[in-house]
């Protein structure tokens, strides 16, 4: 096994630890676990960054140098990286560790899928001609920042719904530590806005790439179509804020539905009839 994949599979365990600590913290309410969780997430992020840079170097040493963003394995790793990166910024900005238990598990799952699924090729491969494009790099980066922000929004949506279960008497004690629902709603909205902007940029850069590679900026390929579907769902969600009575619960549900659509855009599309799948 090459060194970068070894590092990256260790990162998987670090994120697993971090996710577990976040959950401990949520259940027990003890900040000790929270600090452990945050620091291990940060350590994981640093190790992962190093792993990615190493992988980049290794590809140059092999004479086929390209950014580590070119196949399913590399995109899953990058997905986890963006989730943790964005999440830690959010945690630092809002000075609260509540969301971690609902977000870091996504990063862990993505890493675990990349590292342990037999269907995912971990080797560094050269770029086939269609993928030799700088637009593709900006496409992947913008898309995954978008996906990560929407993953965070989905985690917040879950928290909102759980918080709704809280009753005066006999409810799970950890719900008390959650932020108020208005705050969760506001945070969901901000995450969706960031996600929506990146998603738009992702679609635009993807179209530019398609235009230079395939001769048409839009050809209703399933992957393209699903990115549009996702985009429409979030556009509907942003507008629904302006309807009376549409704040809160329905927004939370839409942030979850929207993220299911994101996941389908990412993975599910390969099971549909289509011309080309990029990864």
């Amino acid at each position: 096994m090459i060194i970068n994949t070894t590092i990256l599979s260790w990162v998987t365990f670090i994120y697993f630890g971090s996710a577990t600590f976040y959950i401990f913290r949520m259940v027990t309410g003890k900040e000790f676990w929270g600090a452990l969780a945050s620091w291990s997430a940060l350590a994981g992020l640093i190790a992962q960054t190093a792993g990615l840079i190493l992988r980049w170097f290794e590809s140059y040493k092999m004479g086929i140098g390209h950014a580590p963003l070119s196949n399913l394995y590399e995109s899953l790793i990058f997905f986890a990286w963006t989730i943790v990166f964005l999440y830690l910024i959010v945690e630092w900005r809002i000075k609260s560790r509540n969301i971690g238990a609902f977000v870091i598990p996504f990063a862990f799952l993505s890493m675990a899928f990349a590292s342990f699924s037999p269907n995912v090729n971990t080797r560094i491969q050269p770029l086939i001609p269609a993928l030799q494009s700088n637009w593709l790099i900006s496409h992947v980066i913008t898309c995954f920042f978008g996906y990560a922000a929407l993953a965070i929004a989905c985690g917040l949506g879950f928290m909102y719904l759980l918080k709704g279960l809280e009753k005066e008497e006999n409810s799970a004690p950890f719900l008390r530590f959650f932020p108020r629902r208005e705050i969760l709603d506001e945070l969901t909205y901000h995450s969706v806005v960031i996600g929506f902007i990146f998603l738009t940029l992702g679609i635009i850069t993807g179209s530019v790439w398609a235009y230079s590679a395939w001769g048409s900026y839009w050809s209703w390929d399933p992957k393209e179509t699903w990115s549009l579907i996702t985009w429409l769902i979030y556009a509907a969600m942003l507008h629904s804020r302006f309807l009376r009575g549409w704040k809160g619960k329905r927004m939370a549900i839409m942030s979850i539905i929207g993220f299911v659509s994101v996941l389908f855009t990412y993975f599910g599309v390969n099971y549909l009839p289509g011309l080309h799948s990029y990864f």
Partner: protein, 452 residues
Amino acid sequence: MLLSFLSSLKLTITLLIIIAALSILGTVIPQEYGAGESFTRMSPGLVKTFRSLQLLDLYHSVWFIILMCLLSLNLIACSLKRFPTSWKLFAVTPSLDRARPFKDLPPDNIVMIEGEQNETASRVEHLLMKRYKRFRSKDTDTATIFYGEKGPYSHFGVYIVHASILIIIAGTIIGSLWGFGGFVNLAEGESTDTVYVGRKKSLKKLDYAVRCDKFCITYYDNGMPKEYRSDLSFLENNAVIFQGPLLVNHPVTVKGIKFYQASYGTIPGGRAHMTITREKYKATTLTVNLKDSFYLKEDGAKVTIQRVEENFMSMGPAVLLSIHSSETNMQLWVFKDIEKMKHIIPNLLQKVPKFNPGLFKPYYFKLNSIAQTYYTGLQVSYDPGVSTVAIGAFFIVIGFFFTFFSSHKRLWVRVDELEGKTRIMVSAQSNKDPVGLEREREYLLRHFKKGP
């Protein structure tokens, strides 16, 4: 009635969701002009029903067009309805001596300081003028009132976003009305001025011809393709007007029409490089294609290339020659690896005389190599709507920044006297971004409090 229906946000959300749902349907039902094979797997009855409902070409069906029209109308109606309000918020400064902004102010929006009223007022004015481009003040009998605002442009962000969507839709319409997308397969050496266009593959003649001079693939060490490359020449009235290589991700534009490297393939029957020797004469080397003929000068025999095989009977590359002369008619196989074959089967030439490269005396034929003839698959497209779509895409992003990252902050400050002290009241308003507004309010109050 119709207008209020068309301008309602409920309609917007309904339309966005229906368009999303229809798009999902389009990825589930195999589309007629998309993936060919899965389409044919449906039962004929189902195909007929789907076709009559235009579900087999959903994204160009009347349903889709109606929805896009409705969405556009919705956007236009909604924008027209709301624009006057936004314009007022942008352009009109409220009259300053209204009491309302200062009614029921929470106590932390009020600071009382020692210090003379006029001096305080000029200090407040100084600070506000620095921070707010749009700034006004007014003196009343007892008080000085200041008004400042920031980011009034943020009201237009949404219009920029929505107008961009209309621009993008317009660009796609321009493209579909006046543009075309086609393809053509061109063998090396061939040229054409006609391409297949549209989903129905009708013929279209271009103003010039395109010729494929050469196609080649290079590979990485592990066998994955590294580069597909076609060397193309474009000819008008038999004169070359443009010549250059075409690579994936690097289209070539000639007279506004773009050519893309889309696919490639090989043509059955290749090209052979041969050497012919005759005792005591110099050898000649030549390249021949399938079905080519040539004459052997000395005795007028005609040689025709009957077959060109990559790997004939598992014995490697071979060509079949048929030779007509006044004396004889014969066929003979020329193998590239004949020496090796003779080595393995020592009496091969006695057993199968047809395999003897020296059978037609006094000539000796030698096959050096066989080259594949490739054809290149070119995507040919012309889309006059692209720049419009690009402009829309650019402005939608600009619009997002106005909508999401700027806000219209309005600030009223009133300086007057109360119980021997100077009183400063601050009232702040914003159309969004309550957090930023709070920060601004705190900043100002802190500075007002400091005193002279």
